[in-house]
Symmetry: C2
Subunit: 512 residues, 2 copies
């Protein structure tokens, strides 16, 4: 067809300005927690076969390397320790624990408006870790990431409507002491955003101090336990089928401290997990089921996110690859398993293998992000800002990711079908004795804001308009926005007395 | 999680080289015509309501402006011409014609290896029209598109595995005579690729000469009619609910000449179609059902593609928008309607509003391309190279689109679940007394090529490797590939005697 867009000339600038005002939350066309689930990569029978195979793997193969505390906890619940040191899980035990597991998790923000409700096919997008580099978009250099970068990412994420949580996206490499790094990461994230935060701990011994910091921020232990706004991203397994001994001890400490946990199984298909998509999902499912038994044997119903995070691999090189179609299928398939169990779940999507926020990054980030959303994944981790197969984080890309995720969310929202949207009477009145077009009809105008998602940085001008405004560069626009955000005081920053108390008690590396 | 990719050092270059050889067609992991359909944006009830509403619109509102020949054809079949000039279609007529319509279309290539089989949820990706500008990626300028640009696009598309057909992507603006433009467009496309081609005609009077040219290329009328390798992209309606009088006459001539037709209804939601997604689908469905009655009243079972192509609109500006989430939903919803009718269908996906092949272009192109594929759209038009809301075409973007579509196709292929892919025994042998990883296992190596799609231009190197090879730029790589393709003789070019005969008979503007 010939592109003859109905561009109108009169008053466009005024119209555009009047419509560019931010929408209030209640009429925004998209929001955190919309229901996906229209995309099902697996048939019902496929899901059952994956489930059965995972149960068989748990019963016959089991997992090795649980800490003694975990062995005690899980054997008391009914797991069987073999002479080969592997802990095996009878089906009945798994099924009993599934019945006890938390099916509806509230992930609290420090501000209640950012609470996330994890159940059904409700979809949320956020960052995750853990890059070790920052991408400098001025020089295309990769440099070590710092605590300030982490804090800045938190501040930026706080301003982006479509970033619903902040799992620590990068490692503060300038804080060389592991304990201080863990504590400062909490500080840098929490003082940058009041959205829900995810962090990890290097050592179980660091958890008590972390909890003390969180109690101070929350206003006491009970306030923290009532609304834990930080969860523990816990790599409790080292695939294939091995518990990560120290991480398990961290997990036990976090559960006792009232912190939600993300049971993260991050196998790489072809390296630490089977090379097939189905096989990688089987293994991740088995590992997370073992974690679910572990958690519920400690504290029935403790909030734990079923974190099947299988990653892809470029089998030509043995290098990790997160931007592929295989990756998108891995995460969407996992989402279906979560729904089968009725457990809140998460997986990785939206990361790119590209080193820069270029066209490749765009197509890779969208592919897995939109498929994760359509499959109804509750927590889409790594959804924005992540490059170089998780090695590099980019603030400008995070900002552009907000546009990209907004579009994915529009797709998740889907197609409303009712008498009004079917529009028979509107078609009739326009065509029969009407104006012959729908521009400016009441129906059209009323849907302009509440049904349509407009990109903030994505450009929709005509080539002529675009040239007139100087051919604006996407990355430059994102950079300007970053500088704007970071030049204003962080709205999430701690009250002065709390900040003073935290700095008195802990060695905070971030400048006040 | 911390990104610790299992990068191995020894012999990688050799391994990579040995694995970089092109795959033979039989073991390629993706191919034209893979089955989608795992994504269903509409419930069964939604589909029925859209169908019912479209039938009601046809029965009560009908279409105006059919040519007299069309009125005669359709009223003879049972349509009713009202005093208001609108042609209305009783339900029984639509249902009768649905029964007669062609359900399985072979779109022929000039070379049989490129034949496309349109049925079920089989998915094919290709270009479509019609841009009036070319994007110059060196200067970021938009300039008028030429016949040579069109020929070059055909030559490039011919070399790209994941571009399955070439619908004329741009207008040859340097050929100012409309008839010569139409004839030269056929010449420029057909001499550039032996894949299936789609073209349009400005005037019904041009069709006889076009058929004469096609007979010559095919080697006679019967050879042409046996394997018509060009179809007519026919904008037979001017939405809302109006026949495009001249295009209808073109269609009649093409059908009689044995040319498959694409019944293209390109309404813009909010301007020439209702602003709601459901309403735009209703109207496009009604219009294409009218076209389907028209075609089958002329020649029952003539191959006609159900071309519901609703486009989006930026309601803030009134400008066309093709890169949005709304667009992706429009096309995916249409795919479901095609399947409901059992008719081969097509819609637009993969076009971008961005002026350049940048990150925005990547996310926009992937969003609708992958959703179209997952929904099982038979013909995904506008899938590569298209920018500026259909106003600009970019050869380098077309080349990168091949990577992008390859990834989308991998997603369409989906997740295979069987005993081998579930990998229970492989997990057992790796974990219990085995090496503890899957690198280099027989199962892993055997799946390296046949299951995984590797990008040609998408970069998966580590930041260190990337820096070592000079931080290659995605667009520069695509440009080099373009120059490589265009510097070698077109493999699809006509035999010298045929070319001479065509040039003797027609005024061919393309230099030999």
């Amino acid at each position: 067809m010939n592109a003859q867009s109905p561009r109108r000339s009169g008053g466009r600038a005024a119209r555009r300005a009047s419509r560019a005002a931010p929408l209030t939350q209640d009429i925004r066309p998209i929001r955190a927690g919309m229901q996906g689930g229209h995309y099902k990569p697996l048939s019902d029978q496929d899901v059952l076969r994956i489930h059965e195979t995972a149960l068989t793997a748990l019963e016959q193969i089991g997992l090795i390397d649980a800490p003694q505390s975990g062995i005690d906890i899980m054997t008391s619940a009914g797991a069987i320790l073999g002479e080969d040191g592997r802990l095996r899980f009878p089906r009945a035990l798994v099924e009993d624990m599934l019945a006890k597991a938390c099916k509806d998790i509230t992930l609290c923000g420090r501000d209640t408006q950012y609470d996330l409700q994890l159940n059904g096919h409700r979809v949320h997008y956020g960052t995750a870790g853990a890059a070790v580099h920052m991408v400098d978009i001025d020089t295309n250099d990769y440099r070590d990431s710092t605590l300030q970068d982490l804090h800045d990412a938190a501040r930026i994420a706080h301003q982006l409507d479509n970033i619903h949580f902040l799992q620590r996206p990068m490692v503060a490499r300038d804080v060389t002491d592991n304990k201080e790094m863990d504590l400062n990461s909490i500080y840098a994230c929490s003082s940058g955003t009041t959205k829900h935060i995810g962090v990890s701990f290097t050592d179980p011994a660091f958890v008590p101090d972390a909890l003390e910091m969180l109690h101070m921020i929350a206003g006491g232990e009970q306030a923290w336990r009532d609304r834990p706004f930080v969860s523990n991203t816990n790599c409790f397994v080292v695939p294939p089928m091995k518990f990560a001994t120290e991480s398990c001890e961290v997990m036990e400490a976090c559960i006792r401290g009232g912190m939600p946990v993300l049971l993260l199984s991050a196998g790489m298909a072809g390296a630490t997990a089977p090379s097939t998509i189905a096989g990688a999902i089987v293994q991740a499912t088995a590992e997370c089921l073992a974690g679910m038994v572990y958690v519920n044997a400690i504290k029935p119903g403790h909030p734990a996110i079923f974190g099947t995070w299988p990653f892809g691999l470029d089998l030509r090189t043995g290098a990790m690859s997160v931007g592929s179609g295989e990756q998108a299928l891995l995460s969407a398939g996992c989402a279906q398993m979560h729904k089968f169990y009725g457990l809140p779940g998460g997986a990785a999507a939206g990361a790119s293998d590209s080193k820069l926020p270029d066209m490749q990054a765009g197509w890779e980030q969208m592919c897995s992000n939109v498929m994760a959303g359509l499959s109804g994944l509750n927590m889409v981790y790594e959804a924005a800002g992540m490059h170089a197969s998780l090695l590099g984080f980019c603030h400008e890309s995070l900002i552009l990711g907000d546009d990209l995720i907004g579009q994915a969310q529009r797709c998740v929202r889907g197609i409303e079908v009712d008498d009004a949207t079917l529009a028979l009477e509107e078609i009739r009145s326009v065509c029969v004795g009407g104006p012959g077009h729908y521009l400016g009809t009441d129906a059209t105008l009323s849907r302009m804001q509440k049904d349509h998602v407009y990109p903030t940085f994505g450009d929709r001008t005509s080539p002529k308009e675009w040239a007139e405004v100087g051919k604006p560069d996407l990355i430059a626009k994102a950079k300007a926005r970053k500088e704007e955000i970071l030049s204003t005081p962080a709205s999430a920053r701690f009250a002065p007395d709390l900040d003073q108390a935290l700095r008195a008690r802990f060695n905070i590396h971030l400048q006040p």
